[in-house]
């Protein structure tokens, strides 16, 4: 297992291997598949990275001694990432999961250097013969959250703590408000862009600011549990992110969109073991189980029923979230009556739907 201290050793070792002629490491046991994970945050963030690690442990549970997993946490989305990824590959990891959007180019570069290693990059869009991408349709969970918020909010104004202005975040905000407006057509969404994925102090402050401005339901697209704790302190309701955070705010969490990577990870490891691994682009939602809603709490029964019905509707395809007519903030039509946005338009979304207060940074 890898923590910071070992990570430094790994870097040190990497420098040595770079300087000295290639040291051939004695092959452990030929039949053990080494699987590497590169994490953006600490495993203990109880959000994004934690949930990837749950997926890693699913691999351990399923394959036991047949695989050996390694993870490196707190890897910045910079040139360091490529070094870490390449190092894992050099150390004989046949399959490497890189679990943050910013690892996209580093992954592609490392993949060129190690053509016999398989790479799995989360949340990106660049593929190669030995690089797959995978991502969950988080926006489906946002829509369910929006329906709940629409029914529960007294002010009709919800708050959204956004991380950075990329399509993945924007589609979540849009889906949230569309869900909210499906039950309350006058609903509004305020947002604060905190420009970070993980900064508990700042996330908490953003939560306070939104509440101070009249939002009585707030959700966040950041990784820590701090916003949820602020909701609880201020006596409002909100949602957990990436993982079930109920124990941090038993009286405030309505539900959470839970990223469930385990089944996908297990399948990809199996593919490598079977020799059937192929580069693929996977975008799984509620229907595939890659995304799950945490148990519903702190809401009346009729809201639970509506949330469950929405969840089922999305799974069965009866509810299509980005279906026209859709208008942006200026009222310009983005899709006409009945026209459904394709995956390409969703994954490159750079506009906010009507009713969102505030501009995206240009």
């Amino acid at each position: 297992m890898m923590n910071r201290r070992n990570f430094n050793k790994l870097l040190g070792a990497g420098l040595v291997t770079a300087a000295a002629p290639k040291i051939v490491t004695p092959a452990l046991a030929e039949d053990v598949l080494k699987v590497g994970f590169v994490y953006f945050g600490p495993v203990g963030d109880f959000g994004w990275t934690y949930q990837h690690d749950v997926g890693r442990m699913d691999i351990v549970k399923k394959f036991g001694d047949k695989v050996k997993t390694t993870y490196v946490e707190n890897v910045p989305e910079s040139a360091d990432a490529e070094r870490v990824i390449a190092n894992l590959a050099a150390k004989g990891h046949k399959l490497i999961f890189t679990t943050s959007f910013g690892y996209m180019d580093p992954t592609i570069k490392a993949a060129k250097r190690f053509p016999k290693t398989y790479f799995e990059h989360c949340a990106g869009y660049k593929l190669a013969s030995n690089v797959s991408v995978y991502e969950a349709r988080f926006y489906e969970g946002r829509y369910v959250q929006g329906v709940i918020a629409g029914m529960m909010s007294k002010t009709g104004v919800a708050g959204y703590i956004a991380s950075i202005p990329i399509p993945e975040v924007i589609m979540g905000m849009n889906a949230f408000l569309l869900g909210m407006r499906s039950v309350n057509p006058a609903a509004k969404l305020k947002f604060i862009m905190v420009n970070t994925w993980y900064d508990p102090g700042k996330e908490g402050d953003a939560a306070k600011a939104l509440i101070d401005q009249g939002c009585d339901i707030v959700t966040q697209h950041t990784d820590s549990t701090a916003p949820l704790q602020v909701y609880a302190q201020r006596g409002i309701k909100g949602f957990g992110e990436a993982t079930d955070m109920l124990k941090f705010a038993p009286g405030a969490q309505l539900t959470a969109s839970v990223n469930n990577w385990g089944p996908y990870y297990v399948k990809r490891v199996q593919d490598v073991l079977d020799g059937t691994w192929k580069s693929a682009n996977t975008w799984g939602g509620l229907a595939s189980g890659m995304l799950e809603m945490a148990p519903y709490h702190n809401m009346p029964d009729n809201v639970i029923a509506a949330a469950k019905a929405t969840e089922e509707g999305i799974k069965s395809g009866k509810i299509v979230i980005f279906k026209g007519p859709l208008k942006d903030q200026k009222g310009i039509a983005k899709s006409t009556e009945g026209v459904v946005l394709d995956d390409g338009s969703i994954s490159s979304m750079d506009w906010l739907v009507e009713g969102v207060v505030g501009d995206l940074p240009k």
Partner: protein, 307 residues
């Protein structure tokens, strides 16, 4: 647009208090001539220790005490290296911050994801219920009041007592102070440890009042802002209050104005507290008279007792 003054001000107070605590401690250390750039590291170590103790014992008081002790102990590392082994203060301070960041992450590993009860806000019957003023002035937690009391105490100590005069003398000219017979090293040890204790309070505040959980690097540069505040205040305690609340407001406001849909790029707003630190420092540094009148002349210089 509705604006909730009371809760806005409450949030500002909470954002400003850790800055004020840490800066007040650093001010005393710098007045004694020691520049300790390790504030961020000391805050982080204290935060994790305070949190760990508060979680284990269930007592915020013990948590705060543990945080202060951790701050003092961490500052002792710095003191031993710079004062006894005469290492460079700037380099050692930077090393302390890097060390503290790593050490706190290591200790904190086991405590990630736990939640502690927030430091209780004091409720004064009658007074706390006055609209607007009540909650802001009479509904804060004990560390907020303590931060003001400590600033007053520091002012009184530095400028109204003999011991304070000696401390300032050591900071202004350690050679002269040494020649008169004052124990320069001992005084500096005490000043650095006081600074560590205050950074410890600030760290404890971050972990059990500002947040109620531990997370790596949770101080997010506040130790550095505290350092800048000391210069901003030109080493005068009461100006620290102004600076701390100004920066606390900017930190909070930078998020707050986004919710109003103001047409400013959010990246710019996020950079505002740090950018304004730079601007203010440049503006103050231009006033050379003010700096020269108040800055400890021996600040950051290594003291060789041989002289």
């Amino acid at each position: 647009m509705d604006f909730h003054y009371t809760s806005f001000l409450l949030s500002v107070v909470v954002a400003s208090t850790p800055l004020l605590l840490a800066a007040a401690g650093e001010l005393v250390a710098e007045r004694a001539g020691v520049l300790n750039l390790g504030v961020e590291g000391m805050m982080l170590v204290s935060a994790v220790i305070a949190f760990a103790v508060a979680v284990t014992t269930g007592s915020s008081t013990l948590g705060i005490l543990a945080g202060v002790s951790a701050g003092v102990l961490t500052s002792l590392i710095f003191a031993v290296l710079t004062l006894s082994f005469l290492s460079n203060q700037v380099a050692t301070g930077l090393a302390l911050t890097i060390f503290g960041t790593g050490l706190s992450a290591l200790i904190g590993k086991a405590y990630v994801g736990m939640v502690v009860k927030r430091l209780p806000q004091i409720h004064v019957p009658g007074l706390s219920d006055i609209p607007f003023f009540g909650p802001v002035f009479f509904g804060q937690d004990v560390l907020v009041y303590l931060s003001f009391a400590l600033v007053c105490a520091i002012y009184w100590f530095l400028f109204k007592t003999h011991a304070g005069l000696v401390l300032r003398a050591v900071g202004d000219s350690h050679d002269a102070a040494h020649a008169i017979g004052f124990p320069v090293i001992k005084i500096r040890y005490l000043a650095v440890m006081f600074g560590g204790g205050m950074a410890g309070l600030a760290g404890a505040y971050m972990a059990i009042a500002y947040n109620t959980s531990w997370s790596e690097g949770m101080t997010a540069g506040r130790g550095w802002i505290a350092l800048a505040l000391v210069v901003f205040a030109t080493w005068r305690p009461f100006w620290l209050v102004v600076g701390a609340y100004l920066f606390g407001s900017i930190m909070y406001l930078s998020l707050y104005i986004q919710g109003f849909g103001v047409h400013i790029p959010s990246q710019f707003i996020s950079a505002l507290p740090y950018a304004s630190t730079v601007v203010v420092l440049v503006a103050i540094s231009r006033d050379r008279k003010r700096i020269r009148l108040n800055a400890p002349a021996s600040l950051g210089k290594t003291f060789h007792a041989a002289g």
